[in-house]
């Protein structure tokens, strides 16, 4: 008889990482899916990138100075950090680990370099790659966002090429053709991962069997 007691007494939270090229729609898809994901917490990244008009400090990002960011790096306060398009991005370590340890699922929305970094330290993290339906469409979305110049867009497209080559390191790939469908697939992935045998508490059922009820 298998002993379930060790694995199931304390359920560790699941760490989901949604990443993909800049402009692919990570934020839109995740915001659409979040209300349907049950108990899950969204991690807020720290960045040195300037705040955009529609962004809220402490909600979308923690907007910090480069000096403050470097202090966080030196203090080992970041789970991953990476320079992206000339700015620094990172995930506060303590908050994420506390959530997981308390049994809460966490979702990170980070770039591909960061995702691969976290996977190295947390092989049990679930990596989800969000890809554009076409290259032309990605370029169109970046231009539509219109917050940066053409040189920056070209650099983002070049990065996206390199990022797509790492999709085979990911557990899942979602093509973001329509937001509703991409969101439904993300919801399905979260539900499915919660159905892994080692993540479910069947100790009550096993106990009933052992006691021969």
């Amino acid at each position: 008889m298998t002993d379930f007691s060790v694995d199931t007494v304390h359920r560790q939270g699941i760490l989901f990482i949604l990443s993909g090229p800049s402009g692919v729609g990570k934020d839109t898809v995740l915001s659409h899916a979040l209300p349907h994901l049950g108990t899950i917490r969204r991690s807020v990244s720290a960045t040195t990138r300037p705040q955009r008009p529609d962004e809220r400090d402490g909600m979308d990002y923690f907007f910090v100075s480069t000096e403050a960011f470097v202090r966080m790096m030196e203090g080992g306060e970041l789970l991953e950090h990476a320079p992206v398009h000339g700015y620094l991005y990172g995930t506060p370590r303590t908050w994420v680990l506390e959530q997981l340890h308390a049994g809460a699922d966490v979702v990170l929305e980070i770039d591909v370099q960061g995702a691969v970094q976290v996977k190295t330290n947390f092989p049990e993290a679930i990596l989800i790659f969000l890809a554009p339906p076409s290259w032309r469409e990605l370029a169109r979305r970046l231009r539509e966002r219109n917050t940066e110049g053409e040189a920056s867009i070209k650099r983002r497209l070049e990065n996206a090429r390199q990022e797509l080559a790492r999709v085979d390191q990911y557990e899942y790939l979602i093509i973001n053709d329509r937001v509703e469908e991409a969101s439904a697939r993300l919801q399905a992935i979260v539900t499915a991962e919660r159905c892994r045998p080692f993540r479910q508490d069947i100790s009550g059922l096993v106990e009933e069997i052992v006691n021969g009820n």
Copy 2:
């Protein structure tokens, strides 16, 4: 740059196996989920068990004589076969392989022995264990079905004990508390598995990148 062409040119179908103890509700959950699973084909098992009043030959099972079953075994025509509660059950091989090769997903509803047998031959098969919410509830369902005597029910419960010990060989575990919820989880698992990177055709996207569009 990763070469996607080999993996994605021809998509092999996914083989899903739903199994679990006798009486747990495999048929009810699968029938509820099937209309929502997109293009998937349900395999029909062969059995020497007597036909129940509500069952249709060729739809629920192929009801065959023991002699005919043994000839199928000898001819290598079964993907898996196992004696269950005194009768023989098996999955016709050719039909399943043809579907998978043509790119169609297939779902088998079979017992735990059979599921583990198929997994040995097809490590890429996705095993889903359907478990009762409690032991008491499983016993109640078996008695309610009321097609067999108490000795047969006791034997099914004893088998169920042994089957539950193999749940760690499964990819997924669904607790069948309410049919609608169990069905929703099954749907999520099928959707999530279709989101595996190697099962999706992104050759168009990759080609666009290679051509520098």
